[in-house]
Amino acid sequence: MENDVFRGIKVVSFGWAIVGALTMRYLANYGATVIKIESESRPDVLRTSPPFKDGKAGSNRSGYFNYFNANILSMALNITHPLALKIAKELVAKADIVMENFTPGVMERYGLGYEELKKAKPDIIVLRQSGFGSSGPYASLPAFGMTLNAMAGIPNFIGWPSGEPLPPGVAAYTDCISPRFAVATLIAALDYRNKTGKGQLLDISQLESTVYFIIPAILDYISNGREPLLVGNSCSYAVPHGVYPCKGNDRWCTITVFNDEEWVQLCRVIGKPEYIDDPRFNTFLNRRKNESEINRVISEWTINFIPEEVMTQMQSAGVAAGAVKDAADIYADPQLRQRNFFWRLNHPEMGFFTHLGESFKLSKTPAEKRMPSPCLGEHTEYVCTNILGISDEKFVELLQSGVLT
């Protein structure tokens, strides 16, 4: 297509699970040919994760995998087969980027460490993205989003005063952080290679990326000796600031007020103009002192409306407020839909199925939905014949050898 930013760029991806998928998609959505290497004996872990089409497990039936992998090609290659290494290296020789997010040591065991990859393609760009980075004492500790959250200290920021620290709502929260740092760097590295002819190795630690999401707290500790406290939804410089109950089962709306003007508007919306000058609430400091009372009176009002009604009334008055959206709300969200956040694509085993679509809008080169998430090995023949230039005869031989499974 005319607008394919990364037209001609080939990515060989040993990336898997969430980090792998979220990294690949940015490049694939803008025209790179991203070839995901997996095998029947070691499929992407998401392929074995629920939910499944009709509740029946199967490599190509996972809603989890198929939500995240639009525009990706899947090549089946059993990397432990004696013929596999040669094929993998031939593919690398035609590639611009190799990416992986295994525990360090795995690629080396396959014979695909950086030095080997460089022999196959001297200017290759290699991205490694493991939990703790490829050096250091924890390098080989298997990492999961859940444990990385804890290592990075994220739960210290989640919970009620005197309660327990809680994990973020999606256990693998850290998984969505490092891919952005990774892709921004990868593109810079591609540009650098185009200009200098030099490839490189990029080593990202998911833990370190996540540390970038709490730098102010680190500086606060260094400067003021304060460890984070569990504060619920309150905010030191805004009152009211929180989540308020709405009509319905487990329905909520956020409301935040950052200045007197917004407080005045809020009082009008909830039909309590007398609170504007009430000595308990008339200044920021007074509102802060009487925060629980404020929260009580707002809740008495919000409980009469569904979240969208609270949101619309507050927003029309210039007060920041938003429905606390559950999965069904997100699915139907008019703003996200308007921005093509979801792509509905016809998948051979799922049927019409909602895939994660665009992340942002580029005015001249919008992301393209080209194909649904791949079935395992769906593009093996295409990659072998069209990219590797393997003859039909030889391809049949390889098929029979079992290396392409």
Binding site: V5, P142, F144, G169, Q200, Y212, P216, Y221, Q338, S363
Partner: protein
């Protein structure tokens, strides 16, 4: 890697991280603030709790490696100077409300006529168009609208937000990616474009499997507090455990890796002479999280709970590393600063703040490149710190600057 590129960074806290990532990649990023300093300098915490605009730790955190100038964009001289600067730039990053820069007369079409190929990146709460585009927002509002908040907290309590702002960081990091995609396109074709980032959309990127759960099963994933959900069965399993001096995070997972961890944890408990109880009877090689019952999980949990309670978080982390069990401590900030692996990888770097006579630890780099060190090199700018050097680059004389200062333009 991007040496020779320049970005003008007009953002408040919604967009800091975008420019920070570009600056670390080698772009000359210039923060452009109003003459009194950007209002985002009021965001705490502050150095030694002194609430002054040049002591905002939030500002420090995400504006290192950037230079800074002041400029009043609302007056004509300011706009003309801004256009001069744009003609030297590759990127402009802004986070004003939708329509604001167009109203000032420095929207995308103007900028691109000033400098062909310019890339303008706009970061707003909900995006530049669409039904919510003019909605006001704060971090917790966006986290709610993006689906993260509903999932966070305990089942019987209201949703609870991550108390350190996150939505702006998801958006800022996405903005860096979008900007780089646009840059790659420009390097190939010469064509610039407008990158439109929505905090809501960037934050909704990762809602795990909750959307397909809704589409395929019609079920809504709910908050589960210290427990883990989203498994095949209705069983819930603890992921937050108490230990002697804090908390550790651990969960049994399916698949090979999960089975290995279960086996190794059992051996660890036994090696320390503790009763592994029910764990002994689990056939880890064939253990399947896909159909495990709540009863089995509860029985597995008991000896694990006792084992964790009898150890400190450091003992557990060190043991987990040694035995390759996927358990981790809940780190305090002090733990992070002392952490063996972060130290071994040199994460912390001391950056000088000469005006205060101090140096402060910052994360050194978010990626290790074999080709170019992408380091945090210098602290965030003071208000107008680089006015003289940057304005002289575009040919403003010392006298011009004095005049502009008197007129409240810089």
């Amino acid at each position: 890697m991007l040496t020779g590129c320049r970005a003008l960074d007009l953002t408040d806290e919604k967009g800091f991280l975008c420019g920070k990532i570009l600056a670390d990649l080698g772009v000359d990023v210039i923060k452009v603030e109003r003459p009194t300093g950007d209002p985002s300098r009021r965001i705490g915490p502050f150095w030694h709790d002194i609430a002054e605009p040049e002591k905002s730790l939030y500002w420090w955190a995400y504006n290192s490696n950037k230079r800074g100038i002041t400029l009043n964009l609302e007056v004509s001289d300011g706009k003309e100077i801004f256009k001069e600067l744009v003609s030297t730039a590759d990127f402009v990053i802004e986070s004003f409300p939708p329509g604001y820069i167009e109203k000032l007369g420095i929207g995308y079409s103007t900028l691109s006529s000033v400098k062909g190929g310019i890339i303008l990146t706009s970061i707003t709460p909900f995006g530049l168009a669409g039904p919510y585009k003019n909605y006001k927002a704060s971090d917790i509002v966006v986290m709610g609208m993006a689906g993260m908040l509903y999932l966070t907290g305990e089942r019987e309590s209201p949703p609870v937000n991550i108390s350190i702002p996150q939505a702006c960081l998801h958006a800022g990091a996405d903005a860096a990616v979008g900007t780089m995609i646009a840059y790659y396109h420009r390097e190939r074709t010469g064509e610039g474009q407008h990158v439109d980032i929505s905090m809501q959309q960037s934050t909704a990127l990762f809602l795990a499997n909750t959307i397909p759960f809704w589409e395929l099963y019609g079920t809504i994933t709910r908050r589960a507090g210290v427990f883990r959900t989203g498994m095949s069965t209705d069983a819930v399993q603890r992921q937050v455990w108490r230990c002697k001096d804090g908390y550790v995070f651990f969960a049994l997972l399916g698949g090979l890796a999960g089975a290995r961890t279960g086996q190794r944890l059992t051996e660890w408990i036994e090696a320390e002479g503790m009763d592994s109880g029910y764990l002994q009877s689990v056939d880890w090689a064939n253990f399947d999280m896909g159909n495990v019952t709540q009863e089995v999980i509860d029985q597995i949990s008991r000896p694990i709970e006792e084992f964790f309670l009898s150890h400190t978080k450091r003992e557990l982390l060190e043991g987990a590393v040694k035995r390759q069990v996927s358990a981790c401590q809940l780190s305090s900030i002090q733990d992070l600063l002392d952490d063996a692996t972060l130290k071994a990888r040199n994460l912390w770097v001391e950056i000088e703040h000469p005006e205060l006579g101090i140096s402060v630890s910052y994360p050194r780099e978010f990626v290790k490149s074999s080709e170019k060190a992408l380091l945090t090199r210098f602290r965030a700018p003071l208000i107008g710190e680089h006015n003289k050097e940057i304005y002289s680059e575009i040919g403003l004389s010392r006298q011009d600057l004095v005049l502009l200062k008197q007129a409240g333009i810089v």
